[in-house]
Symmetry: C2
Subunit: 393 residues, 2 copies
Amino acid sequence: MKLPKGFRFAGQYTGVKKNASKRDLTLIVSDRDAAAVGMFTTNKVCAAPVQVCRERLPSLNVRAIVVNSGNANACTGEQGLRDAKEMTASVASGLSVDAKQVLVCSTGVIGRPLPMEKVLKGIKELLPKISAEPNSFDEAAQGIMTTDTRTKTTFRQITVNGKEIHIAGFAKGAAMIGPNMATMLAFLITDAEASPALLGPIIRRAVDRSFHAISVEGHTSTNDSVTLLANGASGQSAEPVRDEFAKAIEEAAIELAVGLVDDAEEVTHRLTIDVTGTRTEEEARKVAKAVADSPLVKTAVFGNDPNWGRICSAAGYAGIDFAEKDLSLRVNGTLLYDHGVPTKFDANAESARMKENFEVHIELMFELGQASCRFWSTDLSTGYVRFNAEYTT
Amino acid sequence: MKLPKGFRFAGQYTGVKKNASKRDLTLIVSDRDAAAVGMFTTNKVCAAPVQVCRERLPSLNVRAIVVNSGNANACTGEQGLRDAKEMTASVASGLSVDAKQVLVCSTGVIGRPLPMEKVLKGIKELLPKISAEPNSFDEAAQGIMTTDTRTKTTFRQITVNGKEIHIAGFAKGAAMIGPNMATMLAFLITDAEASPALLGPIIRRAVDRSFHAISVEGHTSTNDSVTLLANGASGQSAEPVRDEFAKAIEEAAIELAVGLVDDAEEVTHRLTIDVTGTRTEEEARKVAKAVADSPLVKTAVFGNDPNWGRICSAAGYAGIDFAEKDLSLRVNGTLLYDHGVPTKFDANAESARMKENFEVHIELMFELGQASCRFWSTDLSTGYVRFNAEYTT
């Protein structure tokens, strides 16, 4: 797939991570001023780089994003804020732009000051290496990884009057793990011409249907960030194809989000949860989230147990008003619960089918209205608990 | 400890459970009309006996409670309602009272009709065996157990003008497990004289501070019920000692609730979570619940990891407004996080201390106001996941 025009990338190892075979610094540079919008963690304990980006967005003239992995620069007080700003100033100086035109993200251990000497040295080394080659894009995607086992990337293209608009993105880490409170970071870039006013509602909608619709353990991190840059280098405005553009951004975000679920720690199944027939999308989301977050549903799926009771009772405490007869449930296409009554089904066959497939499709069907939503979650495995219980200082 | 006067008890095996060495039917009988109040699951998918009790409470003249374990009579439709009512009618007939004076609870497998022949035969056999002996009380406490490894009982006594008021209670099952969606059931009885109007606020407050302040996995079951009966057999009204009486009920409820946490499936640590210095108790509860429900906090405790980052970031997404500097954290008395900044502490020593003790004391200290609350939770162990992932039909 083609990368958006007018962007260059780099990723390399600087010494923040212990393992020198891993990249820990990433640059995304736009050759021209890019409109930029972002969405950030709602956690009251939020990292220094999040505070810096919040101040600077939305923006009309972003020129770069610098990301380090291995240290989250969170819970680091005033020093953390100074360090985050210094990272942006260092990149800005290399590009001869203003520090305010540079965004910054961090992910990794929290509560420890950034090793600024290494980071600043890394930035200086990295700046001359930026390139528009796919290989550099991939190295940039690697540079943001923490416990991810693979990069998550996405590419989209729209043709308008013979002109092409390109969208690309990469993301990392759905699960928070300790002490590396691994954050969700996602970066979307496009060469469409678009104002922050156009991009704002599009990113909010896309995030609602992607990153806000996945649940690994329901723990909002200190550093979660999604950023969208549009630099206009295609010479084509997104305005006349607003809906198509919004849909492409949403699909790209969903591809990244589902990629995060599939690469979550020690996951053995992906749950795809469809809730239909509620009065509002908000109601559907409440039900989907209750099911997606239920440890009992998640352990049952880990055990390949088609446990309709856990799923329906999770729906029951989701906080929406319904009677039992309003609800039916299908798992992998088989009706297990029909208008409030469990069906007679072959539990062993259903279990065997769960065992054979990575994806488990859960459909909760109400008859209250026309709204719906889709959520993704992971199962809860003994491996996950072991992984997250390891005492590591 | 002395049992409240005017109550008789029995518990025995009737054949609902597979294992004949376990009791599965319990009777609590009051020799005189008892004022009764109850609190029930808010789950929209709620069992037939819950629906029956809701109709009958509050009441001025309850004479008995019948409880079966092994089958929850949930998701059983109209037949389930008829069966629940028939259980109460059968007990009422034996006691020569009205069916409406009898309450009913069930716990166990959901989605399967009650084996009514066994249950009704059991009730007939059990009725002649009721007795006021402590041994019968204990057998009644056994009859409600599902995956509990021990009975949970409580006793309190208040002396008023030389007269004694007695309170007793028993409870079962904090964790929902599948397919035995094990419910939380608790029964409190007293020989105080008290109206439902007096008892209502007392039970609500007590449940808020006990059963609503424990969290094993955040999954509200279809059958959760707490019932309080006051039969007046002591000849002493609770009215003149309202506060003392309320406190004794609250303490009794807390003792049962903490007993449930300690006997939760595969638990290796109890978390006692104190949140202080919030603007309202509601805020304190939000923070406590976020920490109590966080799989990352729970796995860290399982791993004896004094992970301040997971605890503070759980507080951060609890939905209350605060700045990082407003929050400090102690774990087992040691300050780990001081007004928004992690302290230097001996992590290995803290870990060793966690390992040695069943209880982990987590104190989240805000400086926003004077409100506070206490919550209890469990750690999340590999054993829990294995236990709940077992595929059993």
